[in-house]
């Protein structure tokens, strides 16, 4: 069935327009537009040593921010092979300190992964080609700053992006013929995967970094927050996560990740053992094995010829029927074992030598089953496993435009397929796949225990498994990272660079201080409907800057108070009281803009504390917070039975004063407060 030509032309023009917007929005969302400002002198850079694995650099910016960068040290064997060179920059984090030493107004803002690049024109073009599942080219890096992986300042931008994409797909893409539709969808998928890879790379690096002892320039809680926010990018409502829950997000993720890792370690060991193979976990410097290699020996290959082989979970071909292994030309290694089959040094008395042949390398941080990342006999095996699902999804989603809810049979069929593959354990989980490859790349970059020759072979296999044209060549990652870090530093030193961006961000933050919720909703709408081209910002004044400082401090104190309210049974026993006093005191002094949830937290703390001082601070805070909920809580305290006369008196006075000051109070509560006044007067 053909469409009328006019309609076709309209759709084509709409498509081109949307495509331009789509690409531009990707760029815009990753990096705000820069304005040209005269250059100033660079600020001081500080370098710190951490461990043999990492070091940290800190660049203090005049604008009142710190750029903290984690670098993987260049390993000794690399120096031996390639001569002295630079350490590999992994991640930079921007901490906006407002230029003072007060940690309460600091805000973590951007995270850059230095191997993450904005795709080149060629990469983008390739990414449009449907069913082209090939790795990235060896791209050149320009002089611009790298794109940030995440803006840690929680915003609803991600929701709007999703909404726009959904509308765009429904209104434009679905009306196109198969080829352009598949192209657009392919690009979208590659683009999403490209970012997911960057998030996974960042998480992989931060997880190892956090586990290493030493001064890190980022506190443990900051590192946990960054990781929690990164992991939330994958979740539907992750953008709405409240800061007081970030600790829980981190802990739950950590538990799940370690559960997967441990279970897969054991599953792989048992199945390797059952098939007469050798299990070799690769332990990283933080003490965890995230990967394992399965080996066989030359003697076993000869001895077991023709034997049956159970390939479930191992996902490799039967080594006992593979004639190539009888005369293996690939990588081999001789290892020595004692009488208890424990690997020992070659000079150990009684040690037996075995010539080991690697069969496969697995990632362990995958739900339910270990995931094969490298098959040393069949380089395409891991890629084909991944592609089998990807092609299925691309055909159903991109070509046939079948949504999950397309029809009842499809819905149930898909659900059944997902359930069965999930239940039985298939190594096809997308997010975990990205993370596993990221971890492997990190392992190859920083682990010194691997034989260099073997490391090169693994790298080759990892390269060949890549299916995203937007990604970069593994060999080029170090060069790209070094170059991008240089660019970021240059960008940070330019007054019209990062400093300007920080300043813009602060002005955007100030909108919250100056404008009501309704006005802010209007500004958001303007931003959304202009596709991000218009962003409302306040003009920076010393007064507003001071208010921003207070607002940020209030945010942190509110977070702490809410955490205490959620966790504590009695703060005197289980909480840092000094910090609680400080936070409550701050809210009592400057908390008029605090949120409704904070008022509930104060009421809760009031009810569980056994200290008068804390109770008084809670009452003062409830008085200070200018919203009707705070006054309702105050009124409840006034009315409640267990309250002391003193507390009732203070509550009454606060309520009356709030009424006199014209604070926000619900009508019903106004009449109750007036009644208190009359009662007191009588």
């Amino acid at each position: 069935m053909s469409l009328p030509s006019a309609l076709k032309a309209t759709r084509l023009s709409a498509f081109c327009w949307c495509l331009c917007l789509f690409i531009s929005s990707t760029v815009v969302s990753a990096q705000a537009p820069l304005s040209v400002v005269p250059e100033k002198k660079p600020t001081t850079a500080v370098s710190d040593s951490l461990s043999s694995l990492f070091r940290v650099e800190k660049l203090t910016m005049e604008v009142g921010a710190e750029l903290i960068t984690i670098l993987a040290r260049r390993s000794d064997h690399e120096e031996e092979l390639q001569g002295p060179g630079l350490d590999m920059p992994l991640i930079s984090v921007l901490k906006d300190t407002l230029g003072d030493a007060n940690p309460h107004n600091d805000r973590l803002r951007y995270v850059w992964l230095h191997s993450y690049t904005r795709p080149s024109i060629r990469q983008r073009a390739t990414a449009f080609v449907p069913f082209l599942y090939t790795g990235g080219a060896n791209r050149k890096v320009g002089s611009g700053p790298p794109p940030a992986v995440i803006d840690l300042h929680a915003s609803d931008r991600v929701v709007w992006n999703s909404v726009f994409w959904y509308l765009f797909k429904r209104m434009v893409v679905n009306g196109l013929s198969i080829t352009p539709k598949a192209s657009v969808m392919q690009y979208r998928q590659n683009s999403v995967d490209h970012r997911r890879t960057a998030v996974a790379d960042s998480l992989a690096a931060l997880a190892v970094f956090q586990a290493i002892e030493g001064e890190k320039l980022l506190s443990d809680s900051e590192l946990r927050d960054i990781q929690a926010r990164l992991s939330l990018t994958e979740k539907m409502f992750g953008w709405k996560m409240q800061s007081e829950n970030l600790e829980r997000v981190y802990v739950e993720d950590l538990k799940l990740e370690r559960d997967y890792r441990a279970r897969n370690w054991e599953l792989l060991r048992q199945y390797t053992e059952a098939q007469g193979l050798y299990f070799d976990p690769l332990v990283m410097d933080d003490g965890f094995a995230r990967h394992a290699i399965v080996w066989t020996t030359e003697s076993d290959v000869r001895a077991n010829q023709g034997k049956a082989f159970e390939r479930r979970f191992l996902n490799i071909k039967n080594p006992w029927q593979d004639k190539r292994l009888l005369d293996w030309k690939g990588y081999k290694q001789v290892r020595w074992f004692d009488a208890e089959d424990r690997e020992v040094d070659s000079d150990t008395p009684g040690a037996r030598a075995k010539t080991m042949i690697p069969l496969a390398l697995y990632g362990l941080d995958h739900p339910k089953v270990p995931m094969i990342l490298v098959d040393f006999r069949d380089a395409k095996n891991p890629k084909y496993r991944e592609l089998s699902r990807r092609i299925l999804l691309d055909v159903t989603n991109n070509v046939l435009s079948l949504s999950q809810f397309h029809s009842i049979p499809y819905f149930f069929g898909r659900m059944l397929y997902d359930f069965v593959t999930g239940r039985r354990g298939m190594d096809l989980n997308q997010s975990s796949r990205f993370r596993l490859y990221s971890q492997l790349k990190l392992l190859l970059a920083i682990d010194e225990s691997l034989d260099p020759e073997f490391r090169r072979e693994i790298s080759q296999h990892v390269k060949s498994a890549s299916i995203n044209p937007l990604g970069n060549d593994l060999d080029a990652e170090r060069r790209i990272a070094v170059r991008q870090y240089d660019n970021l530093l240059a960008y940070a030193r330019r007054p019209d660079g990062l400093a300007k961006k920080i300043s813009n961000d602060r002005r955007e933050e100030m909108v919250r201080i100056r404008h009501s919720g309704l006005e802010r909703a209007f500004f958001t709408a303007a931003n959304v409907f202009s596709l991000g081209l218009y962003t409302h910002r306040e003009k920076e004044t010393p007064e507003l800057f001071a208010q921003l400082d207070l607002r940020r401090q209030l945010d942190q104190h509110e977070r702490f108070v809410r955490e205490v309210a959620a966790k504590s049974a009695r703060p005197e026993i289980d909480t840092n009281m000094e910090r609680l006093r400080e936070s409550l005191g701050f809210i009592a002094r400057s908390g008029n803009a605090a949120e409704v949830k904070t008022t509930r937290a104060l009421a809760k703390i009031y009810s569980i504390t056994g200290t008068d001082e804390i109770r008084m601070l809670c009452l003062a805070g409830l008085y200070r917070i200018n919203n009707s909920s705070a006054k309702k809580e105050l009124l409840t305290i006034y009315r409640s039975e267990p309250s002391t006369e003193k507390a009732r008196g203070i509550s009454a006075r606060y309520l009356q004063r709030a009424l006199g000051e014209g604070q926000r109070i619900s009508r019903r509560d106004v009449s109750s407060i007036k009644a208190i006044g009359e009662f007191a007067a009588n």
């Binding site: 709405k240 996560m241 829950n245 054991e266 089959d341 359930f419």
Partner: protein, 828 residues
């Protein structure tokens, strides 16, 4: 008259005062809040109480420190008495009685009936159908006439949570829990949904809410219990500090909330908060626990080619069928079966329970039943020469003759017992109301009526199942008398499908017949069947101990998964075993052919228990049940490794001390801090039989009741496995999935050291800041609590009220440091 009245009055007042003294001796604990934590090790709690949290500057577990370390008393050397496994361990804590339930899963050797004490799903479904009232473990306890701690309180005065030994069910808890999944705010709900809603903990969290609210609102409730398995669950999966500490902190917050709720309740002064756990946990941050598939080993040809029955599906989490929760038993079919290929349904030959995972209990079908089955198969074949056929027939009859005395006796006894059971069923059926319980009754009352009905239904099932076994046993015995043409007999008529028969003797386990040998049936010079050459046999002790793995990648682990095998040997098989009167059956520990031990036990005239360790090697049994062994001088490497353990706390010379008789408390004090801790006591507790009704006044019981009690004792005996296999440190036998985080089930101190801490209001008299250094075990828990509440006297005899509720004298040692008003717990 006046004098008589005066004497009577004086006597009455004295009696009242004496009773007041006796039952008022315990402190004034009138209300208890019992927090039951599955698998919480005491030493692990202690580690984090003493570690500072950098973010608060306080203890990592501030509420444990505040409540139990500052305001209460803890018993750091509190141990599971027996296997460190939930089913048995909670059974002992909840009843205060000797071990009767000895696994999370038990099988009846005659009927293949599985007792699955952990599976909640069938229970809830049955409860919803109006059938079951209590969890299976509780039903067994009711049959054994053993009440639990909650039974000491009237239904109206107690609140009990979901647990293994659960009486009744309150759907309101589940419903309330689901309603409370919504925190009352959309954004909060989105956050919770994103973090992950934990459906498994819905009833647990609701129980916490209920208890906190009822502490103030329901002053009439004297007993609360709360049960949580989260720490156990996390520890099975994760061995890292962060995951386990997060779980511990959640328990700590619970303690804080309960304590503050108690403090603001009207009965704070007389309320005690108690935390207790059933066992410890063997989890190390530096090692994963490795699994060994014992089911696969038993199904292999060298393992005997058994069709293996388990109650948990292998690789459950990876199987679609594993989602079905009502599967009664799982059969793993062996492709290597010697003579039962394709017959896994009627004839499984091994039953395995591996829960807890550091141990596995194995039942094997009686070797003589295997022999009869094999001979019968041969007789039905037309290939046998007349000479061989005659020899096979003679051997068949000999096997029956050899077993006939035992079988005849048991058949006779069983017949009597089943008849008594039938009479009881008729009587109870008659007394049950025809209609469903009146809706006006409260839940406790209606459940009490339903409970009786369910016990009757279970008895009916029992009667049916045992009658089937009895029929086949009689048919087998009849063969001997009638000289029937054997090849016309169907095997299912003489060997009951699913039945394991009598327990295997040591001789049978050392010479277990698994099939025909490669040579096949062979005659000796006397034209009789040459049993040695005709049949393939397995020595299970050598086989189990000889298992090795090639992937030995963790420094702290051995390449041998099995540590030792434990079985009880009949005392009658030993000659000249020094010990005198009161000797019980010894426990034999097999740690290799040269490293074995006999754990001897005797009971004194007043019931006092004493033990002796005897290092031996090469213990064998002959066909008549006589044992031979070499007594060895103890040195390093013998089972339990007491000799070489630096923590063995004795002043005397080790060799002499270990090989002498000592009382139970002396053994406990000497060994509890060693690697194997109180194993000598625990292994006896687990492996010995503990007569159920010996303390009851048998003469007063009606004849049928005596027979039914004998039947119940028989049922318990029939659940005893042939072998208890114990894993090496950091090894496990889980085949349902993977438990790399850690496991329990062994007798190692890490797994048996559990938690017992208590704190109370001012009137309770519970010492503040006290530490009880003396070791105690789970047998002490219940009498201590009842003593604190003044419900048992100095001799552990229950009050009249408790006696009326079915309680009997408790065998455990009360923690005197807690109950003695003077208090001897050291203050730290």
């Amino acid at each position: 008259m006046v004098l008589r009245r005066l004497i009577f009055q004086v006597f009455s007042i004295s009696a009242v005062l004496a009773a007041g003294f006796v039952f008022g001796y315990g402190q004034n604990v009138k209300r208890v809040v019992l927090v039951k934590m599955d698998g919480l090790p005491g030493y692990y709690v202690d580690r984090f109480v003493n570690e500072r949290d950098p973010s608060t500057g306080r203890s990592q577990l501030p509420w444990f420190e505040e409540v139990f370390y500052r305001n209460g008393t803890r018993v750091p050397n509190f141990y599971t008495r027996g296997m460190s496994l939930s089913g048995p361990a909670w059974g002992q804590l909840d009843t205060g009685r000797r071990l009767q339930i000895k696994g999370n899963v038990e099988y009846d050797r005659y009927t293949l009936h599985p007792y699955d004490y952990l599976n909640f799903f069938p229970y809830y479904i049955s409860y919803a159908k109006g059938l079951k009232v209590d969890m299976p473990a509780m039903e067994v306890m009711d049959q054994l006439e053993i009440p639990i701690l909650a039974d000491a309180f009237p239904w109206e005065n107690r609140y009990t949570a979901y647990q293994l030994y659960q009486r009744g069910n309150d759907w309101g808890v589940l419903a309330g829990g689901f309603v409370n999944l919504y925190p009352g705010d959309v954004v909060d709900f989105m956050n919770e949904w994103t973090i992950g809603l934990k459906y498994r903990s819905v009833p647990v969290k609701q129980a916490k809410r209920d208890i906190i609210s009822k502490l103030s609102n329901r002053p009439e409730i004297d007993y609360f219990d709360y049960y949580d398995t989260e720490f156990d669950h996390v520890s099975h999966h994760n061995n890292d500090k962060e995951s386990r500490l997060a779980s511990l902190k959640s328990i700590d917050r619970l303690i804080g909330r309960l304590w503050t709720a108690i403090q603001s309740s009207p009965r704070a002064d007389e309320t005690a908060l108690i935390i207790v756990s059933d066992h410890g946990f063997n989890s190390a941050e530096s090692s994963y626990s490795q699994g060994f598939n014992i089911v696969k080993m038993l199904a292999s040809a060298p393992g005997g080619g058994h069709h293996v029955v388990t109650k948990r599906r292998l690789m459950l989490d990876y199987s679609v069928r594993g989602l079905y929760p009502l599967t009664p038993i799982i059969r793993t079919v062996s492709p290597n079966s010697y003579y039962l290929k394709g017959q896994s349904e009627p004839y499984p030959t091994a039953l395995v329970d591996f829960d807890g995972n550091e141990r596995t209990s194995i039942h094997l079908r009686n070797s003589d039943l295997n022999l009869l089955h094999l001979l019968h198969q041969q007789l039905r074949s037309r290939k046998l020469s007349p000479e061989v056929r005659a020899a096979v027939t003679r051997e068949f009859n000999q096997v029956i003759s050899r077993n006939a005395p035992v079988w005849s006796r048991k058949a006779g006894e069983l017949k009597e017992e089943l008849e008594a059971l039938q009479r009881w069923i008729i009587k109870e059926r008659g007394s049950l109301p025809a209609k469903r319980p009146d809706e006006d009754l409260n839940r406790g009352e209606s459940e009490a009526i339903r409970r009786v009905a369910e016990l009757v239904r279970i008895a009916e099932d029992n009667e049916k199942q045992y009658s089937t076994y009895l029929r086949s046993l009689r048919a087998l015995l009849a063969l001997q008398q009638q000289g029937t043409d054997l090849h016309r007999i169907k095997i299912e008529d003489i060997v009951a499908p699913g039945a394991m028969g009598e327990p295997n003797s040591l001789y049978q386990l050392q010479n277990y017949i698994v099939g025909l040998s490669r040579e096949g049936l062979t005659l000796n010079l006397e034209k009789e069947l040459d049993l040695a050459r005709s049949f393939a046999r397995v020595d299970y002790f050598d086989l189990l101990y000889g298992q090795r793995v090639r992937n030995n990648v963790q420094p702290k682990l051995s390449n041998r998964p099995m540590d030792m095998v434990a079985i009880r040997l009949p005392l009658a098989g030993f000659k000249d075993l020094e010990g005198g009167d009161g000797m019980k059956d010894p426990v034999w520990l097999y740690g290799g052919p040269d490293r074995q031990a006999l754990l001897l036990k005797r009971t004194g005239p007043n019931g006092e228990r004493s033990y002796r360790y005897m290092s031996v090697s090469r213990l064998r049994s002959d066909q008549n049940g006589s044992f031979s062994f070499e007594e060895r001088e103890i040195d390093a490497g013998f089972p339990l490794k007491y000799y070489e353990d630096a923590e063995l706390a004795i002043d005397a010379e080790r060799r002499a001390w270990l090989t002498s008789w000592h009382s139970e408390i002396e053994w406990m004090r000497a060994t509890h801090k060693t690697k194997y801790s109180n194993s000598i006591v625990g292994l006896h507790e687990h492996v010995q039989r503990h007569p159920l009704f010996e303390e009851m006044d048998a003469s007063a019981a009606p004849a049928d009741q005596k027979l039914i009690r004998r039947f119940r004792q028989r049922q318990r005996n029939l659940t005893e496995a042939d072998m208890l296999v114990l894993a090496q440190n950091h090894w496990n036998f889980d085949v349902r999935g993977f438990n790399p985080g850690g496991n329990h089930g062994s007798f190692l101190r890490v797994s048996t050291n559990s938690t017992f801490m208590i704190a109370g209001g001012d009137k309770t008299g519970i010492p503040k800041g006290g530490v009880v250094e003396d070791p105690y075990d789970s047998l002490s828990f219940m009498p201590t609590i009842l003593r604190l509440m003044g419900k048992i006297d100095e001799n552990n005899e229950p009050s009249t009220e408790l006696r009326r509720r079915g309680f009997r004298r408790f065998p455990g040692r009360v923690v005197r440091e807690l109950t003695d008003a003077k208090g001897s717990a050291s203050n730290k």
